[in-house]
């Protein structure tokens, strides 16, 4: 809970030395309270006071970093339960699980799938970020699989509650800042010791919300705060409850004991049913899973899950945009028409979906319209005759086409005259004002 200006004032030396740039300590304290100035600006502040303040102003949910270098990712750090209140900051990461009980064929198959599913969607590279490796008792096999998985260059989540096995496994990968999920009430001290020594993030296991709460408190007493909470895999209802309670206790109850990212083993809940696994993964992308563990990744489950994650973790104040360029559909030729729309991702998707449904060869010109919808960008002057004409001229379409037809969105029919002036030699046609009318329009166009 934040400190008030008066409380911060009491931590200052109260001698109005002005070295911080403010006339009085009180004025400085008020600025610090509002978050406008860092407490470090005061050269006389004691370390003790600084710590007290840092504690009071620390975020309710800790940001935990895993992986290193190019593969580093942040988890947690969320401030709201609903994305419309502000924004969700750190996207859910996906893991594929391996285990020492897996034969070489299965190991190779899953590794191959992880390599295969790597694609771009609206400016974001989509791939699994994590490999989870579960220990079931075969130590040499476990260590061997970890060694072999290194070539994938993914972040490791070691799922292992055997301290000796975990120690050996951690030694193999500790420089990559992995996660070790396996601390529980029985092995906590040894696990914390291991985590501290190897600098890894520790995942806690407990049978229920209250037990988990006690376990986190105990971990705090041992002096470790690089934690992830396992929402469990007893059953779906319980796991959902755990994930919600962790997040809600931290953000609504303002209790930092649960202010940590979570991991959800949806693969164990789904018990081999890949559709159910996808439904559960979608659920925990939306409701508070920081890491979601899957059995396997294929394009079939990746496409919807990465797409959902991209939607949920966008900033509500910044619309998603597609790259302004010429998009081609059904191998357009030199007499195919050129449709115009805007770079607002939602508009682009609706329009491109309808074009694909029409199965007619066309070019789709997307000028830089500021990421706004057709009418909004027109009203803001970002979709004007000049913008469209310039986009055409720099697209190379003029040279490519022998029949030059430009289809305007029906909502900006008013631009027709101006574009005709700017683009001599082009036939400017007013298209439909609703995307759903595009297939009929294109099929009747000749």
């Amino acid at each position: 809970m934040a400190l008030s200006g008066i409380e911060i004032f009491k931590l200052t030396p109260r001698k109005n030395c002005k070295e911080c740039g403010f006339p009085t300590c009180m004025a400085f304290a008020m600025k610090v309270a509002s978050g406008a100035v860092e407490i470090e600006k005061c050269p006389h502040i004691s370390a003790e006071a600084k710590e007290k303040l840092a504690e009071a102003t620390a975020p309710l949910m800790k940001t935990v970093k895993i992986g290193t270098g190019d593969y580093e990712h942040a988890l947690g750090g969320e401030t709201v339960l609903f994305r419309h209140e502000k924004t969700f900051v750190n996207k859910t990461l996906f893991a594929v699980q391996f285990s020492d009980a897996m034969d070489d064929d299965e190991l190779a198959r899953r590794m191959e799938n992880i390599k295969k599913v790597d694609y771009e969607r609206i400016g974001e590279q989509m791939h699994v970020e994590i490999v989870a490796v579960k220990y079931t008792g075969n130590r040499s096999r476990y260590l061997d699989i970890i060694k072999r998985l290194k070539e994938l260059q993914k972040i490791f989540v070691l799922v292992c509650d055997d301290v000796d096995a975990a120690t050996e496994a951690a030694a193999l990968v500790k420089e990559t800042k992995p996660v070790l999920v396996g601390a529980n009430n029985d092995n906590l001290e040894e696990m914390v010791k291991l985590a501290k020594e190897s600098g890894i993030v520790l995942g806690l296991n407990a049978p229920g919300v209250e037990e988990m709460y006690a376990l986190v408190e105990k971990t705090h007493q041992l002096g470790y705060k690089e934690l992830i909470l396992n929402a469990g895999s007893e059953n779906m209802a319980k796991t959902f409850e755990n994930a919600v309670e962790f997040r809600r206790t931290a953000l609504v109850g303002q209790d930092r004991t649960f202010g940590y990212p979570s991991i959800v083993f949806v693969n164990e809940l789904a018990k081999g049913d890949s559709y159910l696994q996808t439904a559960l993964a979608a659920t925990f992308i939306m409701k508070y899973g920081s890491i979601v563990v899957l059995d396997d990744i294929t394009y079939a489950n990746a496409l919807p899950l990465f797409a959902l994650r991209q939607n949920i973790f966008t900033d509500p104040q910044k619309p998603m945009r597609v790259e302004p360029k010429v998009y081609e559909f059904a191998n357009p030729k030199e007499d195919s028409p050129v449709l115009v729309t805007v770079d607002f991702a939602l508009t682009y998707f609706v329009v491109s979906g309808e074009i694909e449904r029409a199965k007619v060869p066309v070019y789709l010109l997307v000028p830089d319209a500021g990421g706004l919808s057709v009418l909004t960008s027109w009203a803001a002057g970002k979709l004007s005759a000049g913008v469209i004409a310039n986009a055409i001229k720099s697209s190379g379409l003029e040279e490519k086409l022998n029949r030059k037809r430009l289809i305007l969105p029906g909502k900006v029919a008013v631009l027709k005259g101006d574009i005709e002036e700017e683009l001599p030699g082009w036939e400017i046609i007013v298209g439909p004002s609703e995307a759903m009318q595009i297939p009929k329009f294109l099929n009747e166009l000749n």
Partner: protein, 319 residues
């Protein structure tokens, strides 16, 4: 420090609305906690899942999906019965794709005949969906409402442009339920509900279709709109937003590239039917977590998956 649960108690409640008649009637809504938060209190009726069928042979459907209904696609009533007997949905959504003026443009009379036959063939509640063409839907819904008087169907949907006719015929004259459809905006949803009330349609007869989207296609707008509607309904006890929500999933998910792209066009993506089901299932789950009280899916596998999902997430399943 001891653990303290930080759950909120809400003063508002989503209204319960009953669809269908007789033994097989189903109730939707009734929760006074956030969606699926059964650990907080009363989640009301478990969300209901309907299976979509259409009044014509659906040429644009995936071949593998049509194969499931081989032999009954030509007869909509047979199709409905087959779907009920084999897949046990909570309700049937009969969509009049054939009435679309841009498509087969079937007459209202033909559609009424189909509706009557389907209603006679199955005893589950019916959701009657139209063409998205507001003028045609207005005529279609009025005529079907009259023909199915007493069946207590849900008409999907009345929009701002045709709510007067659809509301008057559907709810006032023939006592059906109406879904008020708006496009992903809490204020528009509230406004159409108020207009419906002013027309004389009671809240007890109203359901909302607040818009739909496939995951990846602006789903964040849908989910945030639903979040805000449910928070207003529960937290501020806003009676103009307390109608249960129905969300058509299938009509969004089967046409997006992830589902529809052929295996020739996207060889790396693998089986297209597999992709389409996964897309439908992911969207269905995301919509249910956002607070839908009823959803409509197309593939029987999606239906089965979501039934398992609901019973387990609410803690009433076998898991």
């Amino acid at each position: 420090m001891a653990y303290k649960k930080a759950a909120k108690k809400y003063s508002g409640e989503i209204r319960e609305v009953t669809l269908g008649s007789g033994d097989k009637a189903v109730a939707i809504g009734g929760k006074n906690v956030l969606p699926i938060h059964s650990f907080d209190g009363n989640v009301g009726n478990p969300p209901k899942i309907g299976l979509e069928i259409v009044d014509i042979v659906p040429e644009d459907w995936h071949d593998d999906l049509k194969k499931i209904y081989d032999g009954v696609l030509e007869d909509t009533a047979e199709w409905a019965k087959f779907a009920v007997d084999n897949f046990a949905p909570d309700f049937i959504c009969l969509r009049f794709a054939g009435a679309d003026p841009d498509g087969k443009n079937k007459s209202v009379e033909e559609c009424v005949e189909t509706a009557k036959k389907v209603a006679a063939a199955v005893d589950l509640p019916l959701v009657i969906a139209g063409t998205k063409n507001v003028e045609k839907d207005e005529k279609l819904f009025s005529a079907v409402a009259e023909a199915l008087a007493g069946e207590n169907v849900l008409i999907l949907s009345a929009r701002e442009e045709n709510y007067k006719t659809v509301g008057a015929a559907g709810a006032l004259a023939y006592k059906h339920k109406i879904a008020a459809e708006t496009s992903v905006d809490i204020n528009l949803a509230k406004q159409l509900n108020i207009l419906m009330n002013q027309l004389g349609v009671q809240n007890e007869d109203l359901v909302m279709n607040v818009g739909s989207a496939a995951v990846g296609y602006g789903f964040e707008y849908l989910s945030s709109t639903m979040d805000r509607i449910i928070l207003a309904a529960l937290g501020q006890n806003d009676s103009t937003l307390q109608m249960p929500i129905i969300t058509p999933v299938s009509t969004e998910t089967w046409t997006v590239k992830e589902s529809a792209a052929s295996e020739d066009d996207e060889p790396a993506w693998g089986s297209s039917i597999e992709r389409a089901i996964q897309m439908e299932v992911a969207t269905a789950a995301a919509v249910l977590v956002s607070g839908a009280d009823a959803i409509i899916v197309r593939h029987p596998k999606s239906l089965a998956t979501m039934k398992t999902f609901i019973s387990n997430m609410l803690g009433s399943g076998l898991n």
